[in-house]
């Protein structure tokens, strides 16, 4: 049997400094943005996201402060399991918008827990392979941008 958990070697893509910056609305800082990419060889239906959590400098972000944006649609984290007709492509960054009034300038320890089910690897009824797409990086906060 293949192992049920798999993890590919593209974890450097998951979070990057060029997708990490404070967001402004009418020049007021309201939160920060974190781009997310998939650590896998292919894209996945958005419904495959089973777990998505973010810690910054050891502090967990409450789920209700997060919006998940894929192209021009915005989702709550909890509705992602229903989104089987939205596709998170292998080259498409998703944006996590986090309304926490933003982060201090400088370097931050960003820790993303991101787990997907593999939609075609079955290990019995309702049991699918799990892809670990987590990543942790020390990232320099970029220049703030208007949302």
């Amino acid at each position: 049997m293949p192992t049920k958990f798999s993890r590919l070697g593209f974890e450097k893509r998951v979070i990057r400094p060029d997708g990490f910056y404070n967001i402004l609305l009418n020049r007021k800082q309201v939160g920060f943005n974190l781009d997310l990419r998939i650590n896998y060889y292919r894209g996945l239906p958005l419904s495959c996201v089973q777990k998505l959590e973010v810690e910054v400098d050891g502090e967990k972000i409450p789920e209700h402060l997060m919006q998940f944006q894929l192209r021009e649609k915005v989702f709550t984290i909890s509705e992602l399991p229903n989104m089987y007709r939205e596709y998170w492509g292998s080259k498409t960054p998703a944006q996590l918008l986090i309304y926490n009034y933003g982060l201090e300038p400088g370097e931050h320890d960003v820790n993303v827990t991101l787990e997907f089910k593999s939609p075609y690897m079955d290990f019995g009824p309702g049991e699918y392979g799990v892809i670990d797409g987590s990543a942790e990086e020390l990232l320099q906060l970029g220049t703030a941008r208007e949302l």
């Binding site: 593209f10 089987y84 596709y87 492509g89 079955d122």
Partner: protein
């Protein structure tokens, strides 16, 4: 070559650069095909379309325009049935048929003559054959490791194909089914993780001497093996399995084979494949009277060596040498 067999390259072989580099896209892949002197390619929709299973017109047009510009040809479309994507149940037959139809629509738009089928249960091939005829695209079941052509479900599919007598369904045998021993790079990877070569060699030599996975894990522990050896056992008894090639099985699927996946992981400078019996397999393909395409599928990106063009080039040299004989 003395026969009517030609070579294509699956873009899947370019996975590492495609995934790692923002700027490595269809244009760059087609440039690489040009370098390799290859026209026909396979495209895996779930990998390279950002809107799968219904790519946008913009995505389709980009491929078509660049393909024309670089004089390359979409030959086959790598399909999937993501049967586990629904929140509450595994896809039923109608839902699976729907996915197959999406891939047919896309293959049709791309001008592909073949789909690599995946996840379609045997009993649906009759419905698939009708839809495939509508779209005039052949749907070919991929026989992929750890499956073997002698497996009962493959043999059942042969019976179904015999009955259907449809030119629109068949097989695409993947040569990865016939790996007879692990690649040296795999061995070195486990050694890098702390495994001892003699332990790994023991597993290889005794893989088919009656051990279950559990028994082998225990045996290797007794021999002093650690986590690295355990991983090797897990993978070699699993999706990196190897075994004496199922040549007799291979013969039974040949009459229904539409094209082939020329899978490989690594090939040395001498352009000799040491783990898969390509000479024997290609000999049987030629003997069967097959006229068509071997779609080369490089999977060595799993070693992250960023050597796809070099590796595929060597493999082409090998196949051409064998087919010229």
């Amino acid at each position: 070559m003395k026969n009517n067999i030609d070579l294509g390259v699956s873009l899947y072989g370019f996975t590492q650069r495609y995934i790692e580099e923002d700027g490595y896209n269809f244009r760059e892949m087609f440039e690489d095909l040009n370098k390799l002197g290859i026209r026909k390619f396979e495209l895996v929709g779930a990998q390279m379309f950002q809107n799968y299973p219904n790519p946008t017109d913009e995505e389709i047009n980009e491929v078509m325009e660049l393909a024309e510009q670089y004089d390359v040809e979409p030959f086959s479309y790598g399909g999937y049935v993501d049967f586990g994507k629904l929140p509450d149940h595994r896809m039923n037959d109608d839902e699976i048929m729907d996915q197959v139809t999406y891939d047919l629509m896309t293959a049709h738009k791309l001008g592909c003559k073949y789909i690599r089928g995946f996840g379609i249960p045997n009993h649906l091939y009759e419905r698939v054959a009708q839809m495939a005829e509508f779209y005039q695209v052949v749907v070919a079941y991929e026989i992929h490791a750890p499956q073997r052509p002698s497996d009962p479900d493959i043999q059942e599919l042969i019976t179904i194909f015999k009955k259907l007598q449809s030119p629109w369904v068949g097989f695409v045998p993947d040569f990865g089914c016939y790996i007879e021993k692990p690649n040296e790079l795999h061995i070195q990877r486990y050694m890098g993780l702390g495994a001892k070569r003699e332990n790994l060699q023991y597993i290889i030599d005794n893989r088919w001497n009656g051990f279950t996975e559990e028994q082998m894990t225990q045996k290797i522990e007794e021999m002093g093996g650690g986590l690295a050896e355990q991983m090797a056992v897990s993978e070699w008894f699993g999706f990196l399995s190897f075994a004496p090639a199922d040549i007799e099985g291979f013969k039974t699927v040949l009459p229904y084979s539409k094209y082939f996946h020329g899978k490989f992981y690594h090939i040395g400078e001498d352009c000799v494949e040491t783990t898969i019996p390509y000479e024997e397999l290609l000999g049987l393909v030629v003997e069967s009277g097959f006229n068509g395409t071997i779609m080369i599928e490089y999977e060595g990106h799993s070693f992250y060596l960023n050597d796809a063009v070099e590796q595929i080039g060597r493999h082409i040299t090998m196949e051409q040498r064998i087919l010229a004989d």
